[in-house]
Subunit: 235 residues, 2 copies
DNA sequence: CAAAAAAGTGAGCAGTGCTCTCGTTATGAA
DNA sequence: TTCATAACGAGAGCACTGCTCACTTTTTTG
């Protein structure tokens, strides 16, 4: 993909190509923030860059491919946000809350990008395989806290309903960090990840309007609930 | 709105209007199922009905208004699904699971409508007030089970992290059925509602691809986890 | 230096939401 | 029953979209 060309540009042309690719992405990003994914217009991007609309197609084969590039970038940024918020030296409960807050923060300041990642998929769009690893970074940050708590022996045993190992994909468990997660622990991480995205989506899409009174406060409460379910002990 | 005109059509013209309005909605619904929300085209709907595209505007002021009508219809249908799945005579845990499954079933057979309700909001769209009551029916079905379990004295006490009452909107608690819900109970219902929508969204959007191995099974597990958190006892 | 590859251009196609004007038709009051 | 009014449908048209194609210009490379 385009990222290949960003590395080690040799000729002037390749350098220009990398730069322009970046500029297209930036312009698209700016437009995304103003109008939302469905209103992203290739022609408008071209206009902003002062080039013919057809020239964009030298860089991205289609509008969907541009969106895909933005999606991968988004997954990476939300992964960055989660990892940057995590201080491995801190206590598990603090780490957990920090990661949650970091993700929410990113979502609030990049709501259209967030919608691109976790909202309705665009037309007939299928997630490209290279997005999978980027997409996994955020939930992995959560898993790391659980893994460290487990290694430190401060992880609470799983609560009542247990998860049948057959429900979890074989590849998932071994993808998780630290000493092997069992099905219950894996399920708890999956649900925490789903909960984090779910509650942020609700806030962003207005479903909590007139339901909760303090979005940030309710979010923190949700983080604690989710962390406790995942086996962390909160002060 | 258009629904007003559906009731008690008197003159032939009013009857024709009501019928055509319904046909437009049906055609739009059909198109939605084939292509998704972003691809819903007013012109295509008009073509299917054999009328000029401009004539549609006599019935819906804009594409967004058509979508709004579909959204309200969707909220009502998912409310129907939840209520129809609920057998008030059954045990709380069975009722809970039945409602969850009913909602999932509806979502699987109406995935585009589901996306319309809980996915990325369309362009600059704001949820119309008349949608609020329809939107509340599904979570209310969940709340009813909790309320009945509470009345029967079989509701488990809230788990560790408690919810500050200040986080819940004042109107929410009194909207819930049965003897007054406190903040903790209300929060648990909100989170159950959010969880149900969240896990279905994940399944529908493919985020669980290669993460879980059995979508229906993991969904049931999630329902149990969520029900237990809400205070229900599962067999 | 010349051939080849890449980049940029502008016209054009088929489609979109939406507006406007224009005839037609049904309705409800005089 | 007459008739002004309001509702309706049609069609042209505007500004926009994604995308393709033939064409020229520029850069790289053998």
């Amino acid at each position: 993909m385009y990222t290949d060309l960003m590395n080690a540009p040799r000729t002037a042309r390749q350098r220009a190509r990398a730069e322009l690719t970046r500029e297209i992405l930036d312009a698209a990003r700016r437009q995304l923030g103003e109008a939302g994914p469905s209103a992203l217009s290739l022609r408008a991007v071209a206009r902003e860059l002062g080039m013919a609309s057809s020239a964009i197609y030298r860089y991205f084969k289609s509008r969907d491919e541009l969106l895909t590039a933005l999606i991968i970038e988004g997954y990476d940024e939300i992964g960055d946000a989660a990892e940057a918020a995590d201080d491995p030296a801190a206590e598990p409960d603090e780490r957990w809350t920090a990661i949650w807050r970091g993700v929410r923060e990113w979502a609030l300041t990049n709501r259209h990008e967030f919608a691109l990642l976790f909202g309705t998929p665009v037309p007939g769009y299928a997630a490209p395989p290279q997005a999978a690893v980027a997409a996994g970074r955020m939930p992995l940050a959560l898993a790391r806290v659980v893994a460290d708590a487990k290694a430190a022996g401060v992880l609470a045993p799983p609560p009542a309903p247990t998860c049948d190992p057959a429900l979890i994909d074989a590849g998932t468990a071994e993808l998780l960090p630290g000493a092997g997660f069992d099905a219950d622990e894996t399920a708890r991480v999956i649900l925490a990840w789903n909960r984090l995205v779910g509650i942020v989506s609700y806030e962003l899409h207005g479903h909590l309007h007139r339901v909760t009174a303090d979005d940030a406060g309710f979010f923190d409460y949700t983080a604690r609930v989710s962390g406790a379910f995942a086996g962390l002990r909160f002060a």
